[in-house]
Every structure is written in structure tokens, then in C-alpha cells.
């Protein structure tokens, strides 16, 4: 695989994640509406929302600092870059050598750090509540995610995503307790990080229990468009990450021709569809939990991932 093709694949990857992210969010909303026997908005609605927001004027509070204005750009860039790092349809990306799981967590962490700061910047009480809750969730979700990364890294002996995907595709590893526990833990973290239902409600705007929406309440216009886009990208990122580590089948491996790449793209869209349906079914069948139970939920995720790492040493062939 020459440098040129890998650069080309990388550019395609960046564009594909950007183009598909609002579609995934719209798809989840549509499936949820159908499950509730409503017709639901079109899958294209998030695209229209973002275009509308981009055309609108951005209104800033008088006391908003430079931090408030730059945060949407920083956040969007960090998450877009992170989403671009994950091998979605091919493992031969130009950024593959840098696509490290720990770097990925760092990118997501810095995006969250700036958003929490921006939530407090204007000084409204809603923003402060949102930021403090977001940090509470992050303090528990990040260690859980790191433990998942460690379990996978011990098994594969690498933290590079491309190598992990290649290793999982090679079939050298069978069904494992550790991987099953890591998968459950990662799904729990993904639900918390994307502000989905048992932890936060993505559909409400005025509720005292909201987390993510409370932080971005002061944003408008293009800033809001960027933040909304970034959270849609984040949902796609987690779906792609789970797909890449636990179900990498169909991805174009080393030395693949263009037909394999196109097949990889098709299976990626299929995987996103499956993930979207599962998420919608899960969200419809469960009630939101109290904010103070989120600690138990994510503590459970942390303990499961810890258990996964422990079981690596009992299992065969480590």
C-alpha cells in the first residue's frame, strides 16, 4: 500500500465520518419514533438543522470570553480528528501509526475539558450545573474506558487501533470472558459519554436533570451547529470504535483492492445501522436514572472492565 493511497483513504475516511454522523443521529431518532408508534422526522432532519444553525447569527453574552468563542472550534476539531483516527472501513489509513487508543481518549478528554470550561464561562447557573455533572460522569467514565483499553492492549499487545482490528480479524482470539466484559463496559461508557437515556436525555431541553444540554444552553448559530455536529460525530465515533475493536469483520485489511474498500464502506454503514437500531431499542425500553445513580452505573462499568483485566490472567493463552 503506497503512501498516496493511504492518504487518499484517510481523506475519504474524514469525509465519510463527517457525512454519516448526522445521518446516524437522525436514524436513531427515527427508529425511536417508530418504536413509539409515531411517524418521526426524516432521517435527513439533523442535516437540515445544522444547515439552518449555520445560517443563523451567533449571539454571544456580554461577558463571554475568548474561551467561549473558541471552544466550539476546538471541540469540533478534536472530535473530528478522533473520529478520523478510528479505522472504519480500512485499516490502511495515513494516520494509522498515530491512531492510538490512549491518544483517542486524550482527544476526547480535551474536548470535554474545554466544553466544561465554556459551560461555566458565562456564569449562568445552568451551565455550572451541567459542567459539574459532566465532570462527575467523566471522572468515572474515563478510568473505565482506560481499563477496557488495557484489557484489549494486554490481549493484542498493542494499543494501535489498526493493529487491534487486524488482530481481531485474523481470528487468533476466540470468545473471551475479558473481551465480553470489556464490551459491556465500553457500551456503558459510550451510553454515558453520549448523554443517552439512562444517564441523560438527549431529547429534552428544559429539565433539571439534563447534563449535556445544560452546558451548551448559551450557544447559538454557527457555534451551536459545531457543538451539535461534534456530539453527533461522537456518537458515530463510539459506534465505530466498538465496531472496530469487537466486530471488525468486513474491513479492508493490508493489501486490499478497491473492491474490498467499497465492501468495507458498505459493511460500515450496515454496522452503524445495527448499532443505531440497538441503541434506539435500548433507549425505548429503559427509564432514565437519577443523576446520583449514574455513579453506581459507571462504577459498575469500571468494575466490569477491571474484572475483565483480572480474568485475562486466568484465561488460556495470554
Amino acid at each position: 500500500m503506497t503512501l498516496l493511497t493511504s492518504v487518499f483513504l484517510q481523506i475519504v475516511q474524514m469525509l465519510v465520518v463527517l457525512a454519516l454522523a448526522p445521518g446516524l443521529t437522525g436514524f436513531v431518532r427515527w427508529v425511536k419514533a417508530r418504536l413509539l408508534a409515531r411517524r418521526g422526522p426524516s432521517i435527513l432532519q439533523p442535516y437540515r438543522d445544522i444547515l439552518r444553525l449555520l445560517k443563523k447569527e451567533a449571539v454571544l453574552a456580554h461577558n463571554a470570553s475568548w474561551l467561549f468563542r473558541t471552544t466550539p472550534y476546538i471541540m469540533f476539531t478534536a472530535i473530528w480528528l478522533a473520529a478520523g483516527l478510528i479505522p472504519t472501513f480500512s485499516t490502511q489509513l495515513a494516520l494509522a501509526p498515530t491512531a492510538d487508543l490512549i491518544a483517542l481518549i486524550a482527544l476526547l478528554g480535551s474536548a470535554r475539558f474545554f466544553l466544561a470550561l465554556a459551560g461555566m464561562d458565562v456564569g449562568t447557573s445552568f451551565g455550572g450545573i451541567g459542567s459539574s455533572r459532566e465532570m462527575m460522569i467523566a471522572a468515572l467514565a474515563e478510568p473505565a474506558m482506560l481499563m477496557v483499553v488495557f484489557s484489549v492492549a494486554i490481549l493484542v499487545r498493542s494499543t494501535s487501533l489498526a493493529e487491534i482490528a487486524d488482530f481481531m480479524m485474523s481470528g487468533a482470539v476466540g470468545l473471551r470472558i475479558s473481551l465480553a466484559l470489556a464490551l459491556i463496559s465500553l457500551v456503558m461508557v459510550a451510553i454515558a459519554e453520549n448523554a443517552r437515556i439512562p444517564v441523560d436525555n438527549p431529547a429534552t431541553h428544559l429539565e433539571l436533570t439534563m447534563v449535556h444540554e445544560a452546558m451548551v444552553l448559551e450557544y447559538s448559530g454557527r457555534h451551536l451547529a459545531l457543538i451539535e455536529g461534534a456530539s453527533m460525530l461522537k456518537l458515530l465515533l463510539y459506534a465505530a470504535l466498538i465496531g472496530c475493536v469487537f466486530a471488525p469483520w468486513g474491513m479492508a485489511g493490508p493489501g486490499a483492492d478497491s473492491a474490498a474498500v467499497i465492501r468495507g464502506l458498505a459493511t460500515f454503514v450496515l454496522k452503524l445501522g445495527v448499532a443505531g437500531v440497538l441503541l434506539a431499542v435500548f433507549e425505548t425500553s429503559i427509564a432514565k436514572m437519577r443523576v446520583f445513580r449514574v455513579g453506581e452505573f459507571l462504577g459498575g462499568a469500571l468494575l466490569l472492565s477491571l474484572l475483565g483485566a483480572i480474568f485475562l490472567y486466568v484465561s488460556r493463552g495470554v
Partner: protein, 220 residues
Amino acid sequence: MHDLGYDAAHLLGAVVLLMSFALLYQRRLFALLHVFTAQALALSAAAAWQGYIQHAPHLYVTALLTLGLKAIVMPVALHRIVVKLNIHRTIEPALSVGLTMLAGVSLVTLSILLVMPVTESASALTREDLALSLSVVLLGLLMMITRRNAVSQVVGFMSIENGLILAAVGVAGMPLIVEMSIAFSVMVAFIVFGIFLFHIRERFDTLDMQKIESFRGESH
């Protein structure tokens, strides 16, 4: 490099362990019973799978017993008892859920540390099976300690028994498994029955009209 027999046995054992953790996490009595049913189903699948890979037909009997008694009869009976006696549906843990989960993971680590040196020469499957089932037993004990409600203590006791059966099923050539599982089931039935009677008595005590009247100060 890997064979399906090992992988599936390993994963079914893990599901049983995971259900033990789910039991510790539950706060509602009915949800607890549902999780217990799921654990019994996983155990019965594990027993049947072991019977298949060990070519031991008597394990199918164990699987059927588990399926019939633990996954159908017991949950239904407990469900009816809870409804009939109008037991309070939320579980009051003596220890907070977070701390219980932490204690649970420590117990799993303990059982792994205990099993590893003893089974140095055994096959990976036996070693893992013993570690898993010892963890399930210890988690069941933890559940009995940390729950105040009698029904959830019974569920904890039955999950201990599930752990023992998981261990017995996984070791090739273990005699009297079927007899053992029948004996345990009878014992559990007696415990459930005992609690049923106990609750009836408790209810009659509190529903005694004379006592209620003496509370109100009407009878002298």
C-alpha cells in the same frame, strides 16, 4: 488455536458470574427474580454444554433439573409469595450498591488468587471453571450478608447453590452430580417453604385484631 468447546464453556460460566453481579446491582424484588431466572438459564445451558463436550448424558439431567426447578418453578413460586404476602418491593441493602460491587470484585480477585496456585497442573478449563464458580459462591454469600429482605436472601442462597453446581458440572468425572443437585433443590425448597410460613406467622402477628385494638387503646 482455540476450540469452540472451551470458548463456549468459558463464556457460559462468565454469564453466570455476570448474573451474580447483576443480582448484587438490583434494587427491585421482581427485577431480582428475573435476573435469577437468567442466571439459572445460563447455568442450565452451561450444564448441557458440558454434557455435550464431556459426552456425559447424566449432565443433561442436571441441566433439565436446573431449567425446570430454578428457572421456572422457583421464580414463579417466589413471585407468587411476594405478591400474595404483599412484601415491600424495594430491597434495602445493608451496604450501598457501590460498596457491594467493590466487595464483589475483591471477592472475585480473591477466588482467582486462591484457585490459581492450587490448580497449577490442571487444564485451563478446569482452573477457570473453579475460579468462576468459587466467585459465584462468594458473591452469593455477599448477597446474603448485604440484604435485609428474606426473599433476596433466599435468592442469594440459591445463587450459592448455582455456583456449586457450576463447579461440579465443569469437573470431568465428578460422581453423583445429579443426586447432589436434587438434594440441594429439596433443601432450597424447604428454605423457601420455611420463609413462606415465617411470613404467614409474621402477618398474622401484625394482623391480630386484638393487638391492633390494644394499640388504639380501646380494649383494656
